[in-house]
């Protein structure tokens, strides 16, 4: 006889609950009552009444099996809800209510846009609006159907174990003071850690709905917010994590990213789009922002007259239908940036598909219309705008630019190269770290430094509150108080004096932040996967952890050279597996996790979508398969040939042979 339980999420805190034998909702799965088929209709009707009474959401019937230790859900996602993440989480354990009270800390730091009192008030107002929306939801004035898009626009998801809040790090930048606020938030309202994402944001996994208005108030005082980090609107604009520091940069993209942020925030026309909309930009010919795989990609450069403008790409993206964007404009003058982007979005808002969520992104519209027709429509829309509408006059650009605090870099520092060479001799660990985690800076005597959030066997992108505080201290001591989030889920101190590098490395040594492997095979990108995410079809973190341990132990790791290895837990591709040199996509087949491998993807100026190499592997086999792929490369590469160069030369065949010939 089939047995079933009734599960739901508790509205006020998002906790997974099940009907127990007293027909109360229990957060303890072991108390869930198993019902017979004949009983289920009546009990489910009762659950739906509780849904209507705004006690729970997403009430559902769950298949279970009876085992030795009691009942067990049949499907993986429900198991995850019942027993919690399968990975070890920091010891903090439960959401703390006696963490130190939040204190307002604010200090303008280099590289961060300075808010004025109006802008701070705007964030307070938005928090107040959301406080009212939460009240109306809890009272039933707003239905879940109505509330969901409103909460998503404030970065709040309902996931497997609770609400998840995604806080925006605009174009990946923040100050040390803001980092400390995130640490305080993690301690006070979450379980003492956060997860930095591939979209340069941070997610907190254990948030209670009733706390969110207070959290948004707290963030507002630190010039932080969660606005439009989800929902079918323009999301956080992402950019180069070395912006303003990179030796190869032509235009600092953050100014324009900030302009786009302000323009798109609460945009009256473009907040209920067919689907989400992601804009990325870079100001360097070396594309570290993956602009060709975004809904709009902007490449800032200067023309022969020295004027600033943009190359515009449209319709790129990953997910279910991975596409490299098409170039829609070779040169867009600075003054027209908002007008042109608005024209693109207006065409999309009017014409994008709304009948099928999987075909609603702009890439599908461009494909269906054909790029030439789409470009003509944008140009028509653009031409029909009033000439003065949304024009970025030079004085506007200058005024926004004024708001960025510039780091006071010394322009007369001697090169520290001889000293560094001597320090390398004495400290081999430091030498490795210099080679892999330290990057050229536009100003002589400075470097940019990446802090790895991927210790061997760790959760990619996770940082504990203590680590956040440490990073804030180090940023203040060595880097003008400025911190960046890289889309590879690491953190960056963009301006560090060369003569402070050894000191910085010594401070990091002994922490989980010093792994010297940026861009190497163990610098794995991974989405949260089914351990947290309600959309996932498979876990991704445990596989990333095994791969990380496996290749950290492999003695020839340095010889493998640069290699992007990414893991996504579902077709939505938050782990960006399509643009990995080696990508893994978690799937579910007959209740078992399996992982499909793609090869040869790339997100840079030679953007490419990876090719599926063949049938999927089990989790155990997947580690072995990646190992074999690496071995083929090491065995057959030409001298100093990188993995991606080798792949582009030889294609997928030798890998397919090694992976599947044995069968």
């Amino acid at each position: 006889m089939d047995i079933k339980v009734i599960g739901a999420s508790r509205l006020c805190d998002g906790v997974s609950v099940w009907l127990d034998s007293r027909q109360d909702w229990s957060p303890d799965f072991s108390r869930a009552r198993a019902f017979l088929d004949t009983e289920i209709a009546d009990v489910f009707a009762r659950a739906q009444r509780d849904e209507q009474a705004n006690l729970v959401v997403d009430a559902r019937v769950i298949e279970v099996e009876r085992g030795d230790a009691g009942i067990l859900p049949s499907v993986a996602r429900e198991k995850m809800r019942a027993f919690g993440p399968s990975i070890a989480t920091p010891e903090h354990g439960v959401v703390s209510t006696n963490a130190p009270p939040l204190t307002k800390t604010l200090a303008a730091a280099a590289g961060v846009y300075r808010y004025d009192e109006h802008e701070r008030q705007f964030l307070r107002d938005r928090a107040a609006i959301f406080r009212d929306q939460v009240r109306r939801r809890l009272s039933g004035e707003l239905s879940e159907d109505e509330f969901k898009p409103l909460r998503l626009m404030n970065g709040l998801y309902l996931q497997l174990h609770g609400y998840m809040l995604r806080v925006a790090m605009p174009y990946g930048g923040m100050s040390a003071a803001q980092m400390r606020c995130l640490a305080a938030l993690a301690r006070r309202f979450d379980r003492g850690y956060g997860h930095f994402t591939t979209r340069q944001n941070i997610q907190f996994n254990w948030i209670r709905l009733q706390d969110v208005p207070d959290i948004l108030d707290f963030l507002a005082e630190a010039d932080l917010h969660a606005i439009q980090t989800s929902g079918n609107c323009v999301r956080n604009v992402t950019t180069d994590h070395f912006a303003g520091a990179a030796a190869d940069e032509i235009v600092d993209p953050r100014l324009y990213a900030e302009v786009l942020r302000q323009w798109s925030t609460d945009h009256p026309e473009l907040t209920y789009l067919p689907r989400k909309f992601k804009i990325a930009m870079t100001g360097s010919p070396v594309d570290r922002a993956a602009v060709r795989v975004h809904d709009i990609g902007l490449l800032a450069y200067r023309n022969a007259e020295g004027e600033t403008g943009f190359q515009v790409y449209g319709g790129g993206g990953l997910g279910r239908t991975p596409v490299i964007g098409v170039k829609v404009r070779h040169w867009l003058p600075e003054a027209d940036l908002l007008r042109y982007v608005e024209a693109i979005l207006r065409v999309y808002n009017a014409m994008g598909r709304r009948d099928n969520i999987y075909k609603a992104r702009i890439k599908i519209l461009i494909r269906d219309l054909k790029p030439d027709v789409f470009i003509a429509m944008i140009e028509d829309e653009f031409a029909a705008m009033e000439p003065a509408y949304c024009r970025l006059e030079p004085e506007i650009i200058a005024a926004v630019s004024e708001r960025f605090v510039q780091p006071s870099l010394q322009n007369d520092l001697p090169s520290s190269s001889p000293d560094l060479a001597a320090q390398r001799e004495r400290e081999p660990g430091f030498s490795d770290w210099l080679d892999n985690n330290v990057f050229p800076h536009r100003q002589k005597g400075y470097r940019s430094v990446a802090l790895s959030l991927k210790p061997p066997g760790g959760v990619p992108g996770d940082a504990t509150a203590d680590e956040m505080d440490l990073i804030a201290d180090l940023a203040e001591k060595h880097a003008f108080g400025e911190i960046r989030v890289a889309h590879q889920q690491n953190l960056v101190l963009p301006h560090v004096r060369e003569d402070a590098l050894l000191d910085l490395w010594r401070s990091l040594r002994g922490t989980q932040l010093a792994e010297a492997h940026i861009g190497l095979i163990t610098d794995i990108i991974s989405c949260p996967g089914m351990d947290y995410c309600a959309l996932a079809t498979a876990r991704s973190i445990p596989l990333a952890q095994r791969l990380s341990r496996h290749f950290s132990d492999r003695s020839d790791r340095p010889a493998i050279g640069p290699l992007d290895l990414h893991v996504s837990g579902c077709i939505n591709a938050c782990g960006h597996h399509h643009v990995a040199h080696i990508g893994l996509l978690g799937l579910e087949k007959n209740g078992e996790e399996s992982y499909q491998i793609t090869l040869g993807g790339s997100a840079d100026e030679q953007a490419a979508i990876g090719e599926i190499v063949g049938p999927a592997f089990s989790a155990d086999e997947a580690v072995e398969a990646v190992d074999q792929i690496v071995s083929v490369y090491l065995r057959e590469r030409a001298h100093k040939e990188t993995f991606i160069a080798f792949y582009r030369r030889v294609g997928a065949e030798p890998f397919k042979e090694a992976l599947y010939a044995r069968a």
Partner: protein, 160 residues
């Protein structure tokens, strides 16, 4: 028809949705297929049009001079096509009559509707007029850039 004005105060006006087969009269709101025909038959008095979500505003362009009201339909509040339709009517076509949001809209969207050029809202049953006043009264602070470029002003000016 009962509607809310720009300040979310209730107004009851003479507009009514034209019923198929009935003789066309002034103050009727017509759907696209019958609009051209109706305009020929009605010599005096205001005429309105109904714009369903899947129809482009360009289809109304030939008639805009004769129209006093355009009702833009929202099939779901998450469906934002109506915002773009209103903006296009104001900005690209210079329409100066009443633009009314009808269908499933939320009080939370009131400010955005007005900013896009809507001049009235027909409140749905589940969100009665009283629920809209707080949204209309709220005075919002604005980010720096928007204060400088005045994004919404162009549309508002066109509506007056």
């Amino acid at each position: 028809m009962r509607a809310l004005d720009r300040q979310a105060f209730v107004t009851d006006d003479l507009w009514r949705l034209h019923e198929d087969g009935a003789p066309p009269q002034a103050n009727d709101v017509f759907r696209a297929p019958s609009l051209a025909d109706a305009l020929e038959k009605i010599s005096a008095g205001p005429v309105g049009a109904w714009l369903p979500p899947d129809q482009s505003v360009d289809a109304l362009a030939p008639f805009l001079q004769r129209l006093s009201l355009i009702c833009i339909e929202f099939p779901k509040f998450r469906d934002g096509r109506g915002f773009t339709a209103a903006r296009r009517l104001r900005q690209s076509h210079g329409f100066t009559g009443d633009i009314r949001a009808v269908g499933r809209v939320l009080p939370d969207q009131f400010q955005a509707l007005i900013a896009c050029g809507f001049s009235s809202v027909a409140p749905p049953e589940n969100h009665p007029p009283d629920a809209w006043r707080p949204a209309a009264a709220a005075e919002a602070a604005r980010p720096f850039l928007l204060r400088m470029i005045g994004r919404a002003m162009t549309t508002k000016d066109a509506a007056r």
